[in-house]
Symmetry: D2
Subunit: 137 residues, 4 copies
């Protein structure tokens, strides 16, 4: 079982669309916040500090995939259960399960790489250092 | 001293702009959430229920005014201290003071009316009922 | 070759994050706008009118999948090339290719169903009517 | 009469709230884009380049003030008419009038300063250079 961290969101009126339910790009926004929250809870520094390391760029997103199972409206609270589902060489995949109480609202996956800026100025993915994998285990 | 309710926000990476600070329309978004939170904490129903009352439309915004004193970045927590600053016939004014610890980050005012939909279909402001003023006092 | 409609976006400062590039949930927001623009360009009515039809709910999102190939910053213009990639019984899949000039920035897919509200109040997917498929062909 | 530049926005479904009208912080977002568009149309460089100048920080916002006169929904087009209403030493005030055809939807003012970063690292407002005032006249 992977280490799982929970991030809570109180859904606001302005997060909802004319159908009265959460406008879905907000789920991506919250999952991104949940990823930051996860790494912070694991003791890793914020992006601000990571990019101070020589050449380091952080963990840009390669791919997202989200399945929507039920809708949520304002006044409700959701909880995002996040873990690293897979480490694979230079990339890793976050899994987010958004729950409202016992109901699964949506499931999302984010595939990210750890990148540095090469001599040419182009981004280059590098193997995930062990200290990061250990911190998140 | 008016009843004051505090609403907290953990500022996220995605709330910030290329200058690395909160993109200011987010403050309006959070102050709107703080207004909803204020009325909820005072025991009043959400907008969803208010609009079920015959002809009732809620409290549309007439005017906002915000002064920015300092900037905030991601990873920081702010607290919005909200109260009704004035009731004046058919309108009321919310005051929001956004604090980071002891620092005043910005001050906002929202002027709102309580509206119903008249026979012609047009919005019409109505006097704020006593039960609302009492709940918020 | 499926009918393809192009929707343009001028990327703004406030669409970008502290890395100086588009904050990715905005791509989902723009792809959703491109879907609406696609159906409008095909002569179909806006959601406002669709939901007036008895029991009709519109085309809720079941799933999104996006691959990010390159980043975009403010001051740049992107174009979203959208088509219906597949009709399959009660669901359909939109494909969006976001281009900056000749560069493919990201590719997104949205899977949607056409739903009505059943007697019990629950949503129920229904076969896509022929007039919609014809309009989009 | 001050130089006025028009910036157009097609209002999207996702810009609207459960009341079916534009969620008001979006007006601040669009007015900020209209300010950037105004300076760009006057031949001034984007913020990205401005901040390369030694010590220069750009034009941070001191204050906003917006009056809402009518609501707008998705599928409608609005136009933002922007000008510099006043230059006053180290600050300037943008005026934005948001129109839907002949209807005034809202009026906004943004007060901004031109800032540099002083030796101590603190922001310091400086007099607006003549070349900027000339470009915008």
């Amino acid at each position: 079982m992977n280490k799982t961290i929970v991030y809570g969101v109180d859904v606001q009126f302005g997060d909802c669309d004319p159908a009265g339910i959460v406008f879905f790009p907000n789920y991506s926004r919250w999952m991104n916040a949940a990823t930051d929250h996860f790494f912070h809870a694991c003791g890793l520094p914020p992006w601000r500090d990571i990019q101070q390391l020589p050449g380091c760029v952080g963990g840009p997103l390669l791919e997202i995939h989200t399945r929507f199972h039920a809708s949520v409206t304002y006044g409700e609270r959701i909880e995002i259960h996040s873990c690293v589902e897979e480490w694979r060489g230079k990339i890793f995949r976050m899994q987010h399960r958004i729950m409202r109480g016992q109901d699964l609202i949506c499931e999302g996956r984010e595939t990210r790489a750890l990148c540095v800026r090469g001599a040419s100025g182009k981004l280059k993915a590098v193997p995930i250092p062990d200290f990061i994998r250990v911190a998140c285990a």
